[in-house]
């Protein structure tokens, strides 16, 4: 088991490199120009000089190699320096954003807290709610709750965040005035009042995001739960006198998490990568918002770095999902037993 996990991690690393290279190639090939935002009156030769200064004169493979070195060696060294006060990375060139000309990692570090708070909170709430709702709908199949769940889920995944956010802002931000409409990233939580302010500004984006999360996961949960509840071992567990709560939340839940874990893992990287539209609407300047603005301005180093970290999160999440799946259902972790000619 452990060696298999290690083997997976070993294969994840080259995968990641390939993905990073693919992202780089993609960004290279995509249309876009870091100078596009500049006034049209800036003459071509000035633009050219600015491009040179960004390092765009070098060949693409060379730039990728440089980025890779910075990503794998220099940035970790900088992080270690920051933590331990060493000076491993002194004087080394870090990955610099083309927009801000500052280190990309510093930008990401600035953005991560709000993304983690909002996305993480929303994802946690959304997932838990989804599991509860999915299980409850499956138990009382075709009951009122199941029907209501179907409607809520349909609304949740049919209504895009830009719409739900607008409605919530309109109702709670403008009409009732209960919540701020712009997220204040400079707010420091120091006392109860500022804590309250923080909660108030988080609640709407979290509501929007968790509605989406819930909508998507709950249906999978319900379907899986329905399948499980029809199985004989659930019948057996009941015959052994386990209380229904335990049968459902322990025996059946674990069995039905198999198809749901990948769904949860699919969305989890957003906790780090941010939810682009929701962040934009509420002005939660998280990683997602950084990614969009960087994309809009063709700030390739920033985009590449965020995409690379997101890829890392995705690969890790999927790895975790595989490991968790193997742990939930040992048959999935079982080594090769199927012969050829399958």
């Amino acid at each position: 088991m452990r060696s298999r996990t290690l083997a997976r991690i070993a294969i994840a690393l080259p995968t990641l490199l390939v993905i990073w290279a693919a992202i780089f190639a993609l960004l290279e090939a995509a249309p876009g120009d870091p100078m596009a935002e500049l006034p049209a009156t800036i003459p071509a030769e000035v633009r050219e000089a600015m491009r040179e200064a960004l390092g765009l004169g070098q060949a693409a493979p060379l730039r990728f190699a440089l980025w890779l070195e910075q990503m794998l060696l220099i940035e970790p060294a900088v992080a270690i320096d920051a933590l331990l006060g060493t000076s491993l990375a002194a004087g080394e060139a870090r990955i610099l954003s083309w927009q801000t000309r500052g280190p990309v990692m510093a930008l990401i570090a600035q953005r991560l807290p709000q993304t983690l708070a909002v996305m993480g909170g929303a994802y946690l709430i959304g997932t838990l709610a989804a599991i509860w709702l999915g299980v409850a709908s499956a138990r009382r199949r075709r009951g009122a709750l199941d029907r209501a769940g179907a409607v809520v889920a349909s609304l949740g995944y049919a209504l895009p965040p830009f719409f739900t956010a607008a409605v919530l802002i309109y109702v709670f931000g403008i009409s009732l005035g209960w919540t701020p409409t712009v997220y204040d990233t400079t707010l420091d939580v120091t006392d109860w009042a500022s804590f309250g302010a923080q909660m108030r500004q988080m609640i709407l984006p979290i509501a929007v995001l968790s509605l989406q999360t819930t909508a998507q996961i709950t249906r999978y949960m319900r379907a899986a739960m329905l399948d499980t509840l029809e199985r004989d071992h659930i019948r057996a567990a009941r015959a052994h006198g386990l209380p229904e709560r335990r049968v459902i939340w322990h025996r059946a839940l674990r069995n039905s998490l198999v198809p749901v874990v990948p769904v949860i893992a699919l969305g989890a990287p957003q906790i780090f990568a941010g939810a682009i539209i929701t962040e934009a609407i509420f002005g939660v300047n998280g990683v997602g918002q950084l990614l969009v603005t960087s994309l809009r301005q063709a700030d390739l180093p920033t985009v590449q770095t965020i995409a690379a970290l997101a890829a890392l999160a995705i690969v890790l999440a999927n790895l975790a999902s595989d490991i968790v799946l193997g742990w939930i259902d040992p048959r999935l972790a079982a080594p090769e037993t199927a012969p050829r000619n399958a």
Binding site: A29, P31, G32, D33, M35, A36, E37, L38, P39, A40, T41, I42, P43, A44, V46, R47, A49, M50, R51, E52, A53, L54, A93, L96, S97, Q99, T100, R101, G102, P103, A106, L107, Q110, R111, I169, G173, I174, G177, P180, T181, V182, Y183, D184, T185, T186, E279, A280, I281, F282, G283, V284, N285, Q289, L290, T293, L295, R296, Q297, A298
Partner: protein, 543 residues
């Protein structure tokens, strides 16, 4: 009155500044944010007139500040100026700023403004003489306006050339002479500033703190000022007039607009068929070569309605491609707001464009009046597209609409077929402006050699590839003419050539639109300079 008496002012720049050094970014948002700290020698007033700022007065021929041969200009600093760290501002800082921006490898975004400066002479601490490499009839490019403020030599001395971008600490907190100084800057997110104790005007600024917040979108920004009152000032509210009107109606704030030269326009693709960007891209419709077709298409537009639908009070019908400053605006094209469908039809009938085959589309010979009309994706532009399609349909021309993502359309990526410069369509719509009150640079964008071609890497502003030697000759004259009146006359003639030959169709003169809370006093929105140009005078109004 006491400095900092009014507490905090909250500004919402939904496109958040990503650096505070305007030399490393030409983006307006960055330039505006930097103008809280960094100041130039002279600014432009909301009317487009130069006003001395750090300079004691505006140098001119009359006062001898500009030399007879137009090859040098002499600036005198106001006496007693100090940086926010207390050290004096000297002419060395001016010379340094020039050196900083022209140092090779820095990628200075404002290099064009310094281009013709040969050297800067600093006879004394208050005087800087700019010597040009050639005669400059309009010598006010450098150090005028928010793009080229003065940097503190002491702070940026180690940031020359290739080292410029890496000087994060400096770029994110430049020391300036302006009313505020930075305490915290999070690029792309927020900046906090406090009043500059060393600011030269007593009792200014009225605010002790500035919160400059970014993020969200124009809608959220408008809402936060006009509807919920969370912020005092919101910048660049490109929203539909109904929405702005509705927001304003909630009574917390007001929408303000200012006009300069930003004109939404149509360009016709006049490229020769063989000069199409690539084999795959079809050649533009040859019908456009007929000026009467261009004119008919123009007549069919109801520009008044367009301005009203798209911009409301923040836009006005543009009959000139150069609508300002007032002296430069031609009055030869009045009445363009009037739609004339009948006239357009008659014009087409008269020049042989008729619908012979009865398919509802006029043609002459093999050429059908069928056009591909492209622009960037943007709600207003799509509405304009729909309107034009409708009206052109009424005069017997068929239109296929295309919208391209703005970052691609304006991206000028040589590899993409969908850029403004490649002009892979027959008609396109975009906005352009002169970034200086002097229109020479702007108007030279229609010279023959500024047509984008494969050879010049698809750069140049003459996207329609219109070419008229007479226009080029006039431009030549403009570049040798000094004196505002003469220059203005020439500029008007050039403008009229463009408009009357229907090379471009100016549609709407777009204002800069912002909003401020009713409690915020002293705001004078300025489209020629930074909107924050007079923030030192802003103050809280009593309830």
């Amino acid at each position: 009155e006491e400095r900092g008496r009014d507490g905090m002012v909250r500004l919402l720049y939904w496109q958040a500044p990503s650096t505070l050094n305007p030399y490393l970014s030409g983006g307006i948002k960055d330039v505006e944010a930097a103008s809280l700290m960094l100041e130039p020698l002279a600014r432009l007033s909301p009317e487009g007139e130069m006003i001395p700022w750090l300079a004691a007065e505006i140098p001119s021929y009359e006062n001898g500040g500009v030399s007879e041969d137009m090859r040098s200009i002499r600036w005198e600093l106001k006496p007693g100026l100090v940086w926010s760290d207390g050290s004096p501002v000297t002419s060395a800082d001016i010379a340094f700023t020039h050196a900083y921006c022209t140092a090779p490898g820095s990628g200075c975004a404002q290099a064009a403004k310094f281009r013709d400066i040969d050297r800067i002479e600093t006879p004394d601490a208050a005087t800087a003489i700019l010597h040009f490499t050639e005669a400059k009839p309009y010598p006010y490019a450098a150090f005028v306006g928010p793009q080229t403020p003065i940097l503190q030599a002491a702070q940026f001395a180690d940031c020359m050339g290739p080292k410029a971008p890496g000087c994060t600490a400096q770029n994110f907190a430049p020391i300036g002479t302006g009313p505020f100084k930075v305490t915290e800057f999070r690029p792309g997110d927020a900046a906090r500033l406090v009043a500059n104790d060393a600011f030269r005007a007593p009792g200014q600024p009225a605010f002790a703190e500035v919160l400059l917040k970014g993020g969200g979108d124009a809608m959220a920004a408008g809402r936060a000022v006009l509807e919920t009152g969370e912020f005092d000032y919101a910048w660049n509210l490109q929203l539909s007039p109904e929405i702005l009107g509705r927001m304003e109606a909630s009574g917390r704030g007001q929408v303000v607009a200012a006009f300069s030269t930003l004109v939404e326009r149509l360009a016709f693709n006049l490229r020769e068929p063989e000069a199409a960007p690539s084999d795959a891209a079809p050649a533009p419709n040859a019908a456009l070569a007929d000026v009467s077709v261009r004119r008919a298409l123009t007549l069919a537009l109801d520009r008044g309605l367009m301005a009203e639908i798209g911009y409301g009070k923040t836009g006005r019908v543009a009959c000139n491609i150069l609508p300002g400053p007032p002296l430069y605006a031609s009055d030869a094209n009045e009445g363009c707001a009037q739609q004339d469908i009948e006239g357009a039809r008659a014009l087409l009938d008269g020049s042989g464009w008729i619908d012979a085959d009865g398919d509802g589309v006029r043609e002459r010979g093999d050429t059908e009046l069928e056009f591909v009309f492209q622009t960037s994706t943007n709600a207003v532009r799509q509405d304009f597209q729909a309107l034009a399609k409708e009206w052109w349909g009424q005069i017997g021309a068929k239109t296929e609409l295309r919208a391209v993502d703005a970052s691609v359309f304006f991206g000028n990526d040589a590899a993409s077929p969908d850029t403004l410069q490649k002009f892979n369509a027959d008609i396109q719509m975009y906005a352009g402006a002169s970034d200086s009150p002097d229109p020479e640079a702007y108007l030279s964008g229609w010279s023959c050699d500024s047509a984008p071609t494969a050879e010049n890497g698809w750069s140049g502003q003459n996207v329609g590839a219109w070419c008229d030697p007479a226009y080029d000759a006039l431009l030549e004259r403009l570049s040798g003419t000094a004196g505002a009146m003469d220059r203005a006359a020439l500029a008007r003639t050039l403008n009229d050539m463009l408009v009357q030959q229907y090379v471009v169709v100016p549609l709407v003169d777009r204002g800069r639109v912002s909003a401020h809370a009713n409690s915020l006093g002293g705001v004078r929105i300025n489209a020629w300079d930074s909107e924050l140009w007079n923030i030192a005078e802003w103050h809280r109004l009593p309830e």
